[in-house]
């Protein structure tokens, strides 16, 4: 079984739109949305959720006011400044600041701190017109996005196994931090979607370094390449220097926005150069996987 992860470093390069096209072009694939923080792929694929599962991860400290003696030890030991004194002079854990490290629970001399498991979000198993999909939603202001990403990947792999699918297409998160690391470690192939801007180039270089760090082979697509052809050429050169391969360019096309508005992938929406380019790119990606 192979797993392709589409990432971009920088947001807004068209990563999800292109993943959607791959989903439409692929046969016998499982789809997974690992951009759990701001998941958008479902807006193109209209999944029908068939199973919903709570995502419980980590714990959260809660002080039982009645048992607290107000000694202040927990506040002193919390490295994340997550314990505060309220206007009424009570000790309280700020749920957004708490990292769930359990230190306060350990040091409280009267054991006045509870430590219940944290409900951080949900993940879903769904049907789409292009096949099964695993996706998720992280609760607002929640930690553990990396673990939710790992859950989505694990469940997608299990489904692929069960349904005898040989390919998983993953829409990855932006950036290079914990959810991205969780998305790419152990993947078969990365497809990096960038754009010909200084920021795009800059962010792509960091993503390629990350790919190298975790030894995942990477291919690069320059989307909206005609906005700055000179920069596109530079990016393709940088790609080779970063031990990756440029596999194609896609022109700027307003139809991407139109497709999004119609809840369709670009390959369903229209024909033309952009669609031809994406189709060729997809064939190349498949060849690379062999």
């Amino acid at each position: 079984m192979k797993e392709i992860v589409v990432i971009s470093g920088k947001g807004g390069t068209g990563k999800t739109s292109i993943t959607g096209c791959f989903a439409a072009l692929a046969e016998n694939a499982i789809l997974a949305d690992c951009d759990v923080d701001a998941a958008d792929l479902h807006m193109l694929l209209a999944p029908e959720v068939t199973k919903k599962t709570d995502f419980i991860s980590g714990n959260e400290a809660i002080i039982r006011e009645d048992d607290c003696t107000g000694c202040g030890i927990c506040m002193e030991k919390c490295k994340f400044n997550a314990i505060e004194i309220t206007a009424e002079g009570k000790y309280r854990v700020d749920p957004f600041g708490c990292e769930g490290c359990m230190v306060c629970v350990e040091v409280c001399p009267v054991k006045a701190i509870d430590f219940p498991p944290n409900h951080c979000g949900e993940w879903y198993y769904s049907h789409t017109r292009f096949g099964p999909m695993v996706h998720a939603r992280l609760g607002i202001a929640q930690e553990n996005s990396g673990k939710l990403v790992s859950t989505v990947r694990r469940e997608a792999a299990a489904k692929a196994e069960e349904l005898k699918k040989d390919l998983i297409i993953v829409d990855g998160p932006p950036g290079i931090g914990c959810p991205v690391i969780a998305s790419i470690t152990g993947a078969s192939l990365l497809v990096v979607v960038t754009e010909p801007t200084i920021s795009g180039k800059h962010d792509m270089k960091r993503v390629l370094e990350l790919a190298k760090h975790f030894s995942v082979p990477a291919l690069v697509i320059v989307n909206k390449w005609d906005i700055n052809p000179g920069m596109t050429a530079e990016i393709e050169k940088e790609t080779l220097l970063g031990d990756a391969y440029p596999i194609g360019r896609i022109p700027y096309d307003r139809a991407f926005t139109a497709a999004q508005i119609n809840g369709r992938t670009l390959v369903e929406e229209t024909t033309g150069t952009a669609v031809e380019n994406i189709t060729t790119i997809w064939e190349q990606v498949c060849r690379k996987l062999k």
């Binding site: 950036g175 801007t197 975790f214």
Partner: protein
């Protein structure tokens, strides 16, 4: 006053707006780049760099002479950063949150601390010294954005106007960046993805209880979903930036909003004052 510029989705023009806010006025301003995974503000502000410093976090160091291999530290660690199989524990520094718990529970006093780098801070000046540019950059391969963001924020002075360029999304790095903000500008674009992610961002700032308004980038492209939503939810739209091919071109070369659309400057110059008045009234 601290204005945080955020967006649920990346690539909506968040950095463009944060940079424009910093460039528009004539007062001293601090531009703090908290998008530490992909810091891009410096591409547009081109600061003269005054100094750089490493962001260091403390991770445990085990004294194998003192360690009795009891495994308490590993059982305590909530982040699986210590693994002990009847041996002195192995430390996985990339998983450690530096909470200090293992040292507290170790009965043998076998744990001390060592510093490891996770990122870098760059301090510089732009626009003839008027704009102080503080950039945080996460080391490639490190997953610990929050400590880098905390260090960027440690340079923020209370009295000066500060513009925070936040990371995209709604999870811990964003919450960390929004921590001390007085006001949030949410940048979005009028597409279904833009609207979907704007809703998440609005939920986030509402949960945090921060006053906010919206900036719509490329407002004349796409559909009316974002405008309708803002109207329904009584969310103020502070600025609408038109779509211009010149903007895309200027941006691709590291140019700023006013290089492409000079008439936007007056609007951006007024934004901090409008916000300040609004915040004071509250």
């Amino acid at each position: 006053m601290i204005i945080a510029v955020a967006s649920g989705k990346g690539g909506t023009g968040k950095t463009t707006v944060a940079v424009a806010l910093s460039l528009a006025g004539s007062e001293p301003v601090i531009y703090a780049d908290c998008d530490v995974e992909e810091p891009n503000g410096s591409i547009f502000l081109r600061p003269e760099v005054a100094c750089t410093e490493k962001v260091l976090v403390e991770v445990p160091k085990i004294d194998e002479e003192k360690c009795t291999s009891c495994g308490k530290c590993a059982r305590f660690c909530q982040f699986n950063a210590l693994v002990s199989l009847g041996t002195p524990p192995l430390v996985f520094p990339e998983l450690c949150h530096s909470c200090g718990g293992c040292e507290i529970v170790c009965p043998a006093g076998a744990i001390s601390w060592k510093k490891v780098p996770v990122g870098e801070i760059t301090l510089g000046k732009s626009d003839g010294g008027r704009i102080s540019v503080i950039q945080g950059k996460l080391d490639v391969g490190s997953s610990l954005a929050p400590p880098v963001i905390r260090q960027v924020k440690s340079y923020i002075a209370d009295d000066a106007l500060t513009v925070i360029d936040c990371p995209p999304g709604t999870s811990c790095p964003v919450i960390e960046s929004l921590g001390d903000a007085d006001y949030v500008l949410l940048v979005t674009e009028p597409t279904p993805f833009g609207l979907h992610d704007l809703k998440l961002a609005v939920e986030t700032v509402r949960v945090l209880g921060l006053p906010f308004s919206v900036v719509i980038n490329r407002f004349d492209e796409g559909d009316s979903g974002v405008e309708d939503y803002c109207l329904e939810e009584s969310i103020h739209v502070t600025a609408r930036i038109p779509h211009r091919r010149e903007m895309a071109e200027a941006y691709s070369k590291g140019g700023n909003l006013f290089d492409a659309i000079p008439e936007m400057r007056a609007l951006f110059e007024g934004i901090p004052r409008i916000i300040e008045r609004g915040v004071e009234e509250k």
